[in-house]
């Protein structure tokens, strides 16, 4: 299971597949301010990324994987470009 939700946020771990996108998106819509912990994620499926990008929930911990960190950063700073 790649999604672990707690009171203060949701942690995505390991390889998040396309199957995770729907539940994650639902959760994010219900918790618009909850933070995401992506520190342990090794890969996020594009659909998962889209869910994160569209909801723009705060990211508590960026992915440690450099590629993923860059990807998430590009998709979540869209509303306030530098």
């Amino acid at each position: 299971m790649a999604l672990v939700s707690s009171d203060h946020g949701m942690a995505l771990t390991g390889h998040c597949t396309v199957e995770d996108a729907e539940p994650l998106f639902g959760w994010l819509l219900d918790h618009r301010d909850a933070a995401l912990d992506l520190g342990e994620a090794t890969h996020l499926h594009t659909a998962v990324l889209q869910a994160i990008a569209a909801t723009q929930n705060p990211i508590a911990r960026a992915p440690s994987d450099p590629f993923l960190r860059d990807l998430v950063a590009q998709l979540t700073t869209r509303r306030n470009p530098e």
Binding site: V18, A21, E22, F25, L28, L29, R32, H43, L44, H45, T46, A47, L49, Q50, A51, A53, A54, T55, Q56, F67, D70, L71, Q74, L75, R78, E82
Partner: protein, 886 residues
């Protein structure tokens, strides 16, 4: 071989057949648009499918053919017989390549070279026609016109790449919205991209309210920079090739200043003046000094600092003065250099990329803020004017618009703006500018709403009522017809998926299994007999028989079902005949119309397959020796065009195939003479033959009536081979011919050869089977009725002399057949080659259905046996082939 490739090969052959058919149909009516469209779609799909595999030679050839057909479809190129020949040759070559791939897994170089030649020949057809490149670009995304996305890479990594000097490729990948349902993960594809140096990911459309989002609809545009090889990249994205474009990225494109603008100071103006002056004198050192001096003074985070660092890097790398000048001009104006523009002008063929940008621009580069600004600028323009400030306002607005359009890479908007500006200056009014801006805005908005709309159509529409006649700068490319066709083609493909394609081996295995089942079930009556005889239980015996009846019924239905699967229409082999007839007729300068009837008649696959070669040979014979040249025909009072008919029909459990021509027929006199000359028959016997029998002599081994052996029918295969191969599958051939009027050949074939009805006879204490189709009757003949002439025995049956053969002689058994107690011999009367003969045997048993298996292994070459079959009691029955034995 992987299953996908296997399926492709099977499908591709199917496609080729259909392509061939369409081409021939077109030759009759070159203007049949439906067939043309069909042909194009076939070629298009075939090309598309071939792209799944690493067969560039094949794909290139198909692509060339597709492009040509596209033009034919648009009536830009006429369909003539030379083109038909080239396309048929293409189909042949593709077929050869497929064979090579199937056998060796790769296309040999010589075929690849031939493919290239042929592709060049096809491409030559396109020369002189405009916008060829668009057809070539049709399969992928357009190259993005705006390269400023590279900013995302960060100055340091770009500087490292720039200094590294390795050639770079850029990839734009716009995943189709439904890609997730196809199991694609664009992010993963990007992550594993060979030589990935950096990327930019952005939403295709603004995300909008999160609640409205469909997360399973891809809405991303990915730009990536790679230092990998083009082939690697293409290989990597081959499954999504049509959603991608790979283009070379000049290192210059990396030179993009980034950072916060900071305050513009007066010093800056001086600096740029200095830089420009130094550049004008081509004084690199001065530029470097000026830039370095300024860099010391300002914060390194500033945009200007970044710009100056890039100036230094460009200088260091020995960039061409022109490019350097462009860069300095750009930074002096405080805008990003548009390297794509420069690169296009420098290297790539300009025409296609212009077109591409026109197509690509509207939806791509504008974010909502830019649209807001555009609307605001329009508001400023439409303010009541007339005062002194108007000119200044107009200039400011124009400047802003220009910047927005160049950032968005919308070159068409820029062009429209330029024209509108000129008109506004001439008219001294802002009206042309306003309508020009309106046109651009409406295009951008409509482009976002519906990207499928041809880009400039809306511009034209709004331009019509605005007083700006010249706004539609370029005609849009015609609505993308190939793309539309592609979707309809795909829809068609969905439908045809209802048909299951199964490898023949699987059916053959079922056939073998059901054969064993039939044999196994036949053991039950033996068991019932045993239950009664050995164990004395009649009841059990009856029960076993009851069960046997049920199993028997099911097994028979099953057998029938499997045979149905193996049945295929004879049309499957008829398909290639129109092509064959056309080619042969052309090479012989004859005109022939081929009519095919009853192609839906079905027969077992193995029968159909063995039929193919004999039929081809018969057709060649008809064309070569039967049908005369047009002059000879009209001299004989016949229409110049010869008629050749192939007709298939079912008659009982046999399939009849007739091949009829209206040619010169066979002259029995010539046949007689030839047969005597070749020593096939003596002169006296030849005289005795009726005309009908005489023409049958053409089937005699070693007979050929052609005066000269032509390249077509004289291939060392005579009609005798045709006859023997037809007979091998249990068929018969008959020929009737009327001199001067034509020849008619009838092949009569069994529907299926898997189950044979055989008569069992005892010879030398052993059972042998004899196929029922040769058996006429079984009789008992008294010893006294057998007459011996020399060594040959004979008897008289119903007033006819029937030669008798002893199984002892024929099979070389140890003893002569013995008469029964009444002194009568068992004689099996059979009909062979139209003659009635008798075979003396020891005795008769019952008839039975068997699955006849040809002898294989060391026994394969054994003459005289049709094969072997397993009997219900587990014993093996050898089935004789009397035609070979006697």
């Amino acid at each position: 071989m992987n299953p996908l490739l296997q399926q492709f090969l099977a499908e591709a052959r199917d496609f080729l057949e259909r392509i061939g058919e369409r081409l021939l149909t077109l030759e009759e009516d070159p203007n049949d648009d439906a067939v043309l469209g069909d042909l194009f779609r076939l070629m298009h799909t075939l090309k598309g499918n071939s792209g799944l595999f690493d067969m560039p030679a094949l794909t290139r050839l198909l692509h060339a053919a597709e492009d040509v057909l596209d033009r034919v479809r648009d009536h830009e190129i006429g369909m003539d017989s030379a083109l038909t020949d080239t396309l048929l040759a293409t189909a042949d070559l593709v077929s050869a390549m497929l064979d090579a791939v199937e056998e060796d897994g790769a296309i040999p170089d010589d075929l690849a070279r031939r493919a290239q030649t042929l592709a060049d020949r096809l491409r030559a057809r396109l020369e002189g026609l405009a916008t060829v490149e668009i057809a070539a670009a049709e399969e992928g995304l357009p190259v993005p016109a705006d390269w400023t996305y590279l900013q995302v890479l960060g100055e340091e990594s770009r500087a490292a790449l720039f200094a590294g000097g390795k050639p770079l490729l850029a990839l734009r990948y716009q995943p189709e919205p439904e890609c997730f349902f196809k199991g694609e993960d664009p992010a993963f594809l990007l992550r594993s991209l060979p030589g990935l140096e950096g990327f930019r990911v952005s939403p295709l459309d603004p995300w909008g309210p999160a609640e409205m989002l469909d997360v399973y609809r891809a809405n991303l545009c990915i730009d990536a920079v790679s230092s990998g090889a083009a082939a690697e990249l293409e290989e990597h994205v081959r499954y999504v090739a049509e959603q991608c474009v790979i283009y070379p990225l000049p290192l210059l494109a990396l030179a993009l200043p980034t950072g916060p603008a900071g305050e513009r100071s007066a010093v800056e103006g001086d600096l740029f003046a200095l830089l420009k002056a130094a550049h004008a004198k081509d004084d690199g050192a001065a530029i470097g000094q000026a830039a370095a001096a300024m860099l010391d003074m300002i914060s390194p985070d500033l945009w200007l600092a970044s710009a100056l660092r890039w100036t230094a890097r460009l200088l260091e790398a020995g960039t061409e003065p022109e490019a350097l000048g462009y860069f300095i001009d750009a930074i002096a104006e405080g805008r990003l250099p548009d390297w794509s523009h420069l690169a296009v002008n420098d290297t790539a063929p300009p025409a296609p990329s212009e077109d591409r940008s026109v197509k690509a621009a509207p939806a791509a580069g504008y974010d909502p803020i830019a649209l807001d600004i555009l609307t605001a600028q329009r508001g400023i323009l439409s303010l009541e004017g007339g005062d002194a400030g108007e000119a200044g306002r107009r200039e400011a607005v124009l400047h802003t618009l220009r910047n927005i359009f160049s950032v968005a890479g919308d070159r068409q908007a820029l062009a429209i703006l330029e024209i509108a500006e000129a008109q506004a200056r001439a008219a001294g009014s802002v009206t042309p500018l306003l309508s020009g801006l309106d046109a651009i805005l409406s295009e951008i908005l409509s482009g976002e709403a519906e990207t499928d709309e041809p880009a400039a159509a809306t511009v034209k529409a709004s331009a019509d009522d605005a007083p700006v006649p010249a706004i539609a700068v370029e005609d849009p490319p015609a609505p993308d017809a190939p793309a539309q066709d592609k979707t309809t083609g795909e829809r068609g493909a969905d439908k045809s998926l209802r048909v299951l394609k199964v490898a023949q081996e699987k059916i053959d295995r079922l056939m073998d299994l059901i054969g064993e089942m039939v044999v196994a079930k036949n053991a039950l009556p033996y068991l019932a007999q045993k239950a009664e005889d050995v164990f004395g239980s009649r009841e059990l015996s009856r029960e076993i028989k009851g069960q046997y009846a049920i199993i028997n019924r099911i097994a028979e239905e099953m057998q029938d079902g499997i045979m149905q699967v193996r049945m295929m229409p004879v049309g499957a082999i008829f398909q290639r005949f129109p092509r064959l007839v056309r080619d042969v007729a052309r090479s012989l300068d004859k005109r022939v119309r081929l009519t095919i009837e009853g192609e839906e008649t079905e027969a077992d696959k193995s029968i159909i397959e063995t039929l193919s070669d004999p039929l081809i040979h018969i057709l060649r014979n008809s064309l070569d020796h039967g049908i005369e040249k047009p002059e000879a025909r009209s001299a004989a009072g016949k229409p110049e065009e010869g008629k050749l008919t192939i007709r298939a029909s079912q008659e009982g459990d046999r399939v009849l195939i007739e091949i009829e021509d209206d040619g010169k027929g066979i002259d029995p006199a010539i046949v007689r003479r030839k047969a005597v000359e070749k020593g096939l028959i003596d002169a006296h016997a030849a005289e005795q033959l009726s005309d009908a029998d005489a023409v049958m002599l053409v089937f005699a081994p070693g007979f050929s009536t052609a005066e000269t052996v032509s390249s077509l029918s004289g291939r060392g295969v005579g009609m005798d081979v045709v006859k023997s191969s037809i007979e091998k599958i249990g068929g018969e051939v008959s020929l009737t011919s009327r001199l001067g009027q034509g020849t008619r050949l009838v092949l009569s074939l069994p529907l299926s050869m898997s189950v044979s009805n055989v008569m069992m006879v005892t010879i030398g204490g052993q059972h042998f089977g004899i196929p029922m189709d040769v058996v006429v009757e079984t009789v008992r003949v008294k010893h006294s009725d057998i007459h011996v002439f020399k060594d040959q025995r004979a008897t008289v049956l119903r007033g006819k002399i029937v030669p008798l053969y002893s199984s002892h002689q024929v099979l070389n058994t140890s003893e002569e057949p013995k008469p029964n107690n009444d002194g009568e011999y068992a004689v099996l009367v059979a009909r062979l080659h139209g003659d009635t003969i008798g075979l003396l045997v020891d005795g008769f048993a019952h008839t039975t259905d068997v699955i006849l298996k040809p002898l294989d292994g060391p026994l394969a070459g054994l003459p005289g046996f049709a094969g072997s079959a397993l009997l219900g009691d587990g014993s093996v029955l050898l089935v004789l082939n009397l035609k070979e034995l006697l």
